[in-house]
């Protein structure tokens, strides 16, 4: 069978170290085809035998290529390379049609666990070699991805520049997928791909660590565990190893990354500047930093796209600038949170990341709502924040008040404990103070109970009233039993300024 012959040939070629320096397109293509078959993890339900055979050969290469490998089919699927090829190469419609038919169902079944399913694609390619020059662009990119482990991206790029001009996805298919103007910058694109592949490689590792789940809530809990602010965008782009939907989502995430790559010409206008900067940034940093830049630029686009209801998301073009409210998930640099797109919602990675962020914030607000008494009826973040602020202020005021109380009470304690001499004085003060204490403690308790059910303004009032009562007590101690215990409004004017002054000592 021709397919098997091709597979045998491909097997042999797979043993070779990947070499992309041929100027010959066809040989490049063949090698890339090897890389395709070797590294692609696309499921082909109709070619299991070939899958197995190639699986054996690819195992040797699998170690070095495993991380980025499994994303390549996603790229291909999501970018619809085959579709583009169909559009651009009518002559190859037959083979490409087959290719697309393969990739079509494959797209929905992408198994990203490192399984070595391989497509019929290499089988198709040899007979249709003359029809594929336009497709070589993406093949080269795939090859570039596959040689990710080698890391010589710049080197791999140069032989492909020529073929890049034939980039099939400068066409309308890009627009179909990304809504872009489609003038891609090959360099940026390739490096974007690099970076994306790096990201994807990292994303692969994450499921192992997290035991990925589809639910956002659980992802939120996992997000809590990672206190870094850099990867806030990444979880939106992370791909779970479990579900095909997530594979699609990751594919769309990749689309977004390619959006960034396709950059300046995008219809998103605003973000173009940022993307350019991020592109340059990513060129510089092909590492964690670059990854963050790429993802953050992706998030920029998300924000531009969405301008959501309460868009608190940060737009960080170079990864260094906070244009707007910067929120971040505290994730460590190396980890992704895998998010699943909900039914009927946009699977855009930016929107998903945005949504996850919003949900995290809302979850925390709910938690605070439970924590702060009297907030169960309150709806809306602004009012909730007001309540929280009032509550924190009231707690701090209570601390001050109680410390003042302790400051006045303690000497009495010492007297009691040490049995100092001036007992009549002490008893006088105690008796003077106790009723004051008693009477002031009543308003204190009176204020304590309602304070948890009242709005913060009233709370502050009550505590300040108690403070004023204590001011009076201080004077009482000095003046020996002159107990002017009128806790309140008349004394407020004298008491509160002093208390305010004391509070500013903080």
């Amino acid at each position: 069978m021709a397919g098997e012959d091709a597979t045998v040939q491909l097997e042999k070629r797979n043993e070779e170290p990947l070499n992309y320096r041929d100027g010959n397109m066809s040989s490049q293509w063949k090698l890339n085809g090897n890389n395709l078959t070797n590294t692609s993890m696309v499921i082909n339900p109709t070619s299991n035998s070939m899958v197995e055979s190639l699986a054996c050969s690819s195992d040797s290469m699998a170690d070095s290529f495993a991380p980025p490998i499994w994303n390549q089919p996603i790229i291909w699927q999501s970018l619809g390379y085959c579709d583009m090829n169909v559009k651009n190469n009518a002559s190859t419609s037959n083979t490409l049609g087959n290719g697309t038919s393969i990739f079509g169902p494959v797209r929905s079944n992408a198994m990203l666990k490192g399984s070595t399913f391989l497509p019929d694609f290499p089988v198709m390619l040899p007979p249709s070699l003359p029809h594929f020059p336009a497709d070589s662009g993406f093949i080269e990119r795939a090859a570039r991805f596959s040689c990710f482990g080698g890391g010589n991206f710049v080197d791999t790029m140069s032989p492909f520049r020529i073929s890049e001009s034939l980039n099939p996805y400068t066409g309308d298919s890009l627009e179909a997928f990304m809504g872009n103007g489609s003038k891609s910058l090959p360099a940026m694109q390739s490096q974007r791909h690099e970076i994306n592949a790096i990201e994807c490689s990292k994303e692969v590792s994450l499921p192992v660590e997290l035991g990925t789940e589809g639910s956002l809530i659980k992802n939120d809990k996992m997000i809590e565990n990672f206190p870094s602010s850099h990867d806030e965008a990444k979880y939106g782009i992370g791909v779970s190893a479990h579900e095909s939907d997530e594979a699609e989502f990751s594919g769309s995430g990749f689309q977004e990354e390619l959006d960034d790559a396709a950059g300046e010409s995008s219809a998103k206008g605003l973000g173009s500047k940022k993307r350019k900067r991020t592109g340059q940034g990513t060129q510089i940093n092909v590492n964690n930093g670059g990854r963050q830049l790429a993802t953050e630029s992706a998030k920029d686009q998300a924000e531009i796209q969405q301008q959501g209801d309460q868009n608190q998301a940060s737009s960080k073009p170079g990864g260094n600038r906070d244009k707007s409210g910067s929120q971040g998930l505290d994730l460590p640099k190396e980890e992704y949170i895998h998010v699943r797109a909900r039914r009927g919602q946009a699977t855009n990675s930016h929107s998903l990341a945005e949504r996850v962020r919003r949900e995290k914030l809302s979850e925390r607000m709910k938690f605070l709502q439970d924590l702060v008494p009297g907030c169960s009826k309150v709806t809306g973040k602004a009012v909730m924040l007001d309540e929280i602020i009032n509550y924190v202020q009231s707690l701090q005021q209570q601390v001050e008040f109680l410390s003042m109380k302790l400051a006045t009470v303690n000497p009495r304690l010492d007297f009691n404990i040490e049995g100092l001499v001036a007992k009549d004085l002490q008893t006088g003060t105690i008796q003077a103070v106790l009723p004051g204490l008693g009477s002031s403690s009543v308003p204190l308790q009176g204020s304590v109970n309602p304070q948890f059910s009242t709005v913060g303004g009233r709370l502050r009032e009550s505590t300040s009233q108690v403070h004023c009562a204590w001011e009076d007590e201080l004077h009482n101690i000095i003046q020996m039993g002159f107990n002017s215990n009128d806790p309140l409004n008349s004394q407020n004017l004298s008491g509160s300024p002093r208390l305010g002054h004391m509070k500013t000592e903080h």
Binding site: N311, L361, F367, L385, I478
Partner: protein, 147 residues
């Protein structure tokens, strides 16, 4: 370190805080004779307040941002006597869109100046829990002393 929104064991926090705070109080009472002057009382008040925050923050260790910030502030105050405040103002403030209250919250929660909103909310939750524990214990102490 996992980001816990609440102290994993509030009771242990409370007991530890109680111990440290009472130790600080005893120490304070030993050293100074409790003269009932206003100034002395004020000084004690200040000392007690700082001691309560410091003991709570030390119980939490510098694990949380707010506890770390509190301890840092206290140490700076002890060392530099408020000259460090000028330094803290040089940092770039975080800009928030959408909610003006967030900036107020940043001022309230120690160390909240430069956090992102998400982390700020986490810290606020933890801070509120610890503040509640602190207030409760201090109130118990005061009630015990006053009886």
């Amino acid at each position: 370190m996992t980001m816990q929104k609440f102290p994993s064991n509030v009771n242990s926090v409370k007991s530890r805080f109680t111990n440290r705070f009472l130790q600080a109080l005893k120490k304070m009472n030993k050293n100074k004779p409790a003269s009932p002057s206003i100034r002395e009382t004020y000084r004690r008040y200040h000392f007690i307040r700082v001691a309560s925050y410091a003991s709570m923050a030390s119980v939490i260790r510098p694990r949380r941002a707010w506890s770390y910030a509190t301890l840092w502030k206290i140490r700076n105050r002890a060392l530099m006597k408020r000259s460090s405040r000028a330094r803290s103002l040089t940092r770039n403030p975080r800009k928030d869109i959408g909610f003006e209250q967030v900036s107020d919250l940043r001022k309230l929660v120690p160390g909240g100046e430069e956090m992102k909103i998400c982390r700020l909310l986490n810290e606020t939750i933890h801070y509120i829990k610890c503040l509640e524990a602190q207030v409760e214990i201090m109130r118990n102490i005061v009630d015990h002393c006053s009886t």
